[in-house]
Symmetry: D2
Subunit: 155 residues, 4 copies
């Protein structure tokens, strides 16, 4: 079992990938908010650049689908990390290489209106090759904006 420092380094490594190394995540302003193994969370703030419906001032559907895709991928990745518990950090982080979305469904439930948003992902099933995850996107008043279901290749 890794010590506190090793765990911190590993979490920092995951954050480094999702928050800073992925260029489009930076465009969206995504921040990993929780690395809970079972329900990781990603947050971002409203900004004018993220608007789709300029009449309502609501999030672009593509911002919503992007965050849902990233959060589903993070949930699949965390599910894999869990399976690799005890393995060296470098090996665990390297699994990011193999991660890819096979397909994704997004249901747009309400206009994406708010000042900040949080997406939570969880795994429905992790197999050897494919993980199926679900994702919820809420605004700061806990209104459910959109949900998603995605299949990810993990190996």
């Amino acid at each position: 079992m890794p010590g506190r420092n090793a765990e911190n380094a590993w979490f920092e490594g995951i954050r480094e990938i999702f928050d800073r190394k992925i260029p489009f995540n930076q465009v969206l302003g995504l921040k990993v908010h929780s690395l809970d193994m079972d329900r990781p969370k990603i947050r971002f703030d409203m900004r004018k650049a993220l608007v789709g419906n300029y009449i309502k001032g609501s999030l672009h559907g593509g911002v919503i689908s992007s965050v849902i895709d990233v959060t589903g991928g993070l949930a699949a990745f965390m599910g894999l990390q869990k399976k690799l518990s005890g393995e060296p950090m470098a090996l665990k982080l390297d699994k990011f290489r193999k991660l890819g979305t096979i397909d994704l469904r997004i249901d747009y439930l309400r206009p994406g209106i708010g000042t900040s948003f949080e997406a939570t992902g969880y795994v429905l099933r992790t197999g050897n090759k494919v993980a199926v995850t679900r994702i919820e996107l809420k605004n700061e008043t806990q209104q459910l904006i959109a949900v998603g279901t995605g299949a990810y290749v993990i190996a």
Copy 2:
């Protein structure tokens, strides 16, 4: 039937909405390439900011889902324009207000590698309230990167 000038003004109105008024479309660099009533097209160029997998240098899944959502919406919108043939331009353009994605499926077929990309949308069915559209995303070598199917509320 509208004259050449009226048609130009109407096309210019649609371009104005999709290319310039929607902030996140500008972030993505989307340009309406064709306003063919049956198969409208949207184009954008690769830029570092749009990368997801920084190892492969490929498009972020969210860029792909965003473009697919916009192009499906444009196809639904054009389908509606067709039904409103003969109506005043302001009334036709105003239908953009009512346009919204209900749900969307994206299938990621190949890594989004290329220098420029083109998405084409078409309508499978237009009802009174709901349009179902399909979208294909190809790179400049005509490789099929991703496809999508979306349901849009149109009234």
Copy 3:
């Protein structure tokens, strides 16, 4: 508010539609198990006729998608009944006419092995024209076999 007898008659009317009037529901052996307004349930027993993978003896994917579609429709229908609380029974039951699936996603998580199965549906959002529902299918040991998300036209 309807009295006990009125409520019984109304529940019996819904059961009549789903259990007996829909021919293919009878082929599948579906039975409305609960008419909970928020989480209606449908049950059916394993029978050889419902097998798809004859090597594993598991449910056919089409049986799974059928039950998920029916249960999602029932959840959308119950959501509508809730909105119509206080209206005459005939008017409420007549809404079945307008009910139709727009689209459906099914995620097959585990082989459909078991002696009996229960599907539970719930509404994510009910609008004026469209309801979005989710459905879970479990076997008698509470193993999650499959989940679904569907959009239904309700008016």
Copy 4:
């Protein structure tokens, strides 16, 4: 390259699996109509048992999703057969064991009204582990009733 007799035996083997060994395909009355490697087809006739909407007399949504699932699976299977060209028939047919639907989207476009129906499947991409297929269901007047997109595990 197999001779005419070998090819006949192999096609007969595939038909044996899909038409006769899968119990629920028999309930639906499905018949493999074409084993074209790129666009296999499945047919079935309308029967009262397959009705969902008893007011319209149209196919049950579950019949539609079932046929779409089977046809998508057949297209994935044929895609795999193509890759295994030259291998012994027993090995090729044995791949049926590994075939499984990961997820499926169905879009219901028009009421399933008609006397007979034909579903055609084709592969969008075949990888090492996952195939993505699309399916169309038409009635005898070539009206498009429904379409689907599915991801299948093939190994």
